[in-house]
């Protein structure tokens, strides 16, 4: 790591600290658990391939890949017209719409699962479609989540593309469809592939929403790992599935990184150059955007409406019941206590993720002089993105089998849940802060240094001053993600200190009495807190949120 440092006193120390803290954290809480899973999977008892050859495993791997592939394609097809409307056209209210589009992405998975259940169940607004508990229902929910990834990622690139290329093609005789296919799509291909691979990643590691919507018939590798671990205690088979998952994820991340590298080749222009008032020819994308917006709103509206229905008609009965523990004593603590737990745990996770993410980003934003240093930084960058793809379930499962015994016995310690959540939020923090830091003109730092600032002072007056708002925004995002985190938390949270998503899942699992109504009311509360946090984040107007 010494090779990274410029030869200035003090810099080496900061470099080592900046690289060391994130690396040690990742090593203990990510690499070790994952290696333990791999070890258990490869060297456990019984033949390795036996687990993979089970018909049930094969079916679930197929389902996982199929649902992720279909959802990615649908997200791209629907997301492109919306990106065009929100990032190429100028109209009043565009800023608000760009902010709203991110809401589905940050809603807790359990909330979305419950929302789709209220929408699709028998007697629900779309109950006549008969989709409850079917494969298309899972697909719809996955698309609901991930459209914003495509809109934000592709939109961010599209906004910077010079529209005169399209104009040149039009004047040369190409009709609108032809211009789109021969000029626009090739120029966007890098960001489309990046967005699609990230969506594929999110969908193939989807857990909460599949668990809630899929019932026993449909599942993913993720839900199967959970089932094998917590219900059948077959840790060996779970490990083998985790390895399968790791391979899929790793391939996708490589693809995304390559696509990202390629997409930087386009020259960017100011937004004024590329956006224009809507025209008649924009009717199709506008129509797609409006219809999609209505469809996106539907599950949320349905959720809120259902939360106000009690057994004795409309009212706040479900919300009042949140101070209790549910029918048949479903819960150990009242729901409001669980909300308190969630807020406290998410706050701890946020502090962890932001401190580590900022350290790492500061180091990653430097350009080392030596080629070896640059290569080392690329690896470091890739290592930080890994938790993004490696499923939360794998993380939770890994904690369970490594941190439960000496040398590090954290089983009874309340720090496990925030650490796991911080791990899930870390890549999002880095992806929000790092592009801003990389965008700082190095001459700004040189100017400060020449004017007499010591290195720490340069970092404070230039880097930290510029990055303050993005860091605040990243904190909000990390908080929202931690608040809704379910995959890892469902493994790690203890019955006497559950978080809100865990409580909601428990309540759906024990229907009868007030439990389902309570679950829906609790989902509304969780969604409201999340949306509030994200609304505050969006007010900071940091463009890198939710783009990959």
């Amino acid at each position: 790591m010494i090779a990274l440092a410029r030869r200035r006193p003090g810099t080496v120390f900061w470099m080592v600290l900046g690289v060391g803290v994130p690396l040690v954290f990742l090593a203990i809480f990510f690499v070790w658990p994952v290696l333990a899973i791999v070890g258990r999977g490869l060297f456990g008892e019984g033949p390795l391939l036996e687990v993979l050859a089970r018909p049930r495993t094969l079916r679930l791997v197929g389902l996982t890949l199929a649902q992720a592939a279909i959802a990615s394609v649908v997200c791209v097809l629907v997301g492109l017209p919306i990106a065009h409307v929100l990032y190429r056209l100028r109209f009043r209210g565009r800023g608000l719409l760009r902010a709203l589009v991110v809401v589905p992405f940050v809603l807790p998975t359990v909330v979305v699962g419950v929302a789709f259940r209220t929408l699709l169940r028998e007697g629900g607004p779309l109950g006549f479609l008969g989709l409850d508990g079917t494969f298309p229902a899972i697909l719809l929910a996955l698309v609901f989540f991930n459209i914003s990834v495509v809109v934000r990622t592709v939109g961010g690139t599209w906004e910077g593309l010079d529209s005169r290329q399209e104009e040149a093609a039009r004047v040369l005789g190409a009709g609108p469809a032809r211009v789109f296919l021969t000029i626009t799509v090739p120029r966007l291909s890098g960001s489309i592939i990046a967005a699609a691979s990230i969506v594929f990643l999110f969908c193939s590691t989807a857990f909460g929403v599949v668990l809630v919507l899929g019932g026993t018939r449909f599942g993913t590798i993720e839900t199967e790992i959970w089932l094998l671990t917590t219900q059948f205690l077959d840790l060996r088979a779970a490990s083998v599935l985790s390895i399968t998952q790791l391979i899929v994820v790793f391939g996708m991340l490589l693809l995304a990184a390559r696509a990202r590298g390629r997409s930087t080749a386009q020259r960017r222009v100011g937004a004024l150059r590329s956006s224009r008032p809507p025209r008649v020819s924009d009717a199709l994308p506008i129509a797609v955007a409006v219809v999609t917006a209505l469809l996106l709103a539907l599950p949320i509206v349905s959720l809120v409406a259902r939360s106000l229905q009690t057994r004795d008609g409309w009212g706040f009965g479900n919300y009042l019941a949140l101070s209790g523990t549910g029918s048949r004593n479903a819960l150990v603590v009242p729901v409001w206590t669980a909300l308190g737990n969630s807020l406290a745990v998410a706050a701890q996770a946020t502090v962890l993720a932001v401190v580590i993410g900022l350290c790492a980003s500061l180091v990653l934003s430097r350009t080392p002089r030596s080629a070896r240093g640059r290569r080392a930084l690329e690896w470091f960058d890739g290592a930080l993105m890994l938790p993004l793809g490696v499923s939360a379930v794998t993380v939770g499962f890994g904690f369970l089998i490594t941190l439960n015994q000496p040398p590090l016995d954290l089983r009874s310690s309340p720090v496990l849940v925030p650490i796991a959540q911080a791990l899930v939020a870390l890549p999002l923090v880095v992806r929000t802060v790092l592009p801003v830091l990389r965008g700082i003109d190095p001459r700004l730092r040189e100017a400060a240094a020449v004017l007499g600032s010591a290195p720490w002072r340069v970092m404070r007056d230039v880097d930290l001053a510029i990055v303050a708002r993005p860091v605040l925004a990243a904190s909000g995002l990390a908080f929202a993600v931690a608040l809704g985190e379910f995959g890892a938390t469902s493994f790690l949270s203890r019955p006497d200190r559950p978080t809100l998503p865990v409580v909601i899942f428990r309540l759906i699992g024990l229907p009868g009495g007030d439990n389902f109504g309570m679950a829906i009311a609790a989902a509304v509360v969780l969604a409201a807190v999340t949306v509030l946090v994200i609304a505050l984040v969006e007010r900071l107007r940091v463009g890198t949120i939710g783009a990959f």
């Binding site: 093609a169 039009r170 004047v171 120029r187």
Partner: protein, 231 residues
């Protein structure tokens, strides 16, 4: 007359960029539009090819109003100041674009055009490898490929350095005459305008203030402002 503009006005957001301009261009003629930056010349050009909607007035081609003809069906071509070559395509693919769009064979014509602009054998190169002058030559070849009824040139030489500009202006003039191309040539540089165009229209603050041959405009500027601009 090939192209006729009647009282054309164009609004950009809330400013009147082009103010009641009337012009006509004969077949095979190169009309220069000369004016300081911000005088509305580029906007006028963009409205002729349909990229900016007309505020009022008419644009006629062979006596026919083309306001409702979509951009891509006008059979014109526009060459931008910075070329706007398609970076994801090779030189030959760029030049042949208008032909492929029209489902016409491209290969022979592309070679012919590359020879015309002095870039024979450049077909397989990436456009990002070319120098500024070479890029503008490719852009010109691309614009000429489908033999447009009208060629619109928006400051095609302004991004180049002085020496190259003078040389390319002469080349441009030769190519346009050789192909008997009807063209509108926008520039802020009077030497360039006088070197390339048959007649020159002077535009100031969106208004057309004088039209005439190079000699006429130079020897008797219509207003003191024109005289100052040409000085």
């Amino acid at each position: 007359m090939a192209l006729v503009l009647e009282d054309v006005s164009v609004w950009l957001d809330r400013t009147l960029a082009v103010d009641a301009v009337s012009l006509s261009v004969a077949p095979g003629e190169v009309l220069g539009i000369l004016g300081p930056s911000g005088s509305g010349k580029s906007t006028l050009l963009r409205s002729v090819c349909g990229l900016e909607p007309l505020g009022s007035g008419r644009v006629l081609w062979d006596g026919e109003d083309i306001a409702r003809t979509p951009v891509h069906e006008r059979g014109f071509a526009l060459m931008f100041q910075d070329g706007q070559l398609f970076t994801h395509q090779s030189v030959a693919q760029n030049v042949g674009y208008a032909l492929r769009v029209r489902h016409r064979p491209a290969e022979a014509r592309v070679a012919e055009l590359l020879e015309l602009v002095g870039l024979s054998g450049f077909g397989d190169r990436r456009v990002t490898e070319l120098s500024g002058g070479e890029q503008q030559r490719v852009a010109l070849a691309r614009s000429l490929a489908a033999s447009p009824r009208l060629l619109l040139l928006d400051e095609p030489l302004s991004s180049l350095d002085r020496e190259l500009r003078t040389r390319l202006a002469a080349d441009l003039r030769a190519i346009l005459t050789a192909t008997a191309q009807t063209a509108l040539f926008v520039t802020h540089d009077q030497d360039e305008a006088f070197a390339v165009a048959d007649r020159v229209a002077v535009l100031m603050a969106g208004r057309l203030v004088q039209v005439g041959t190079a000699a006429e405009v130079k020897s008797s500027p219509a207003t003191p402002e024109i005289a100052r601009f040409l000085a």
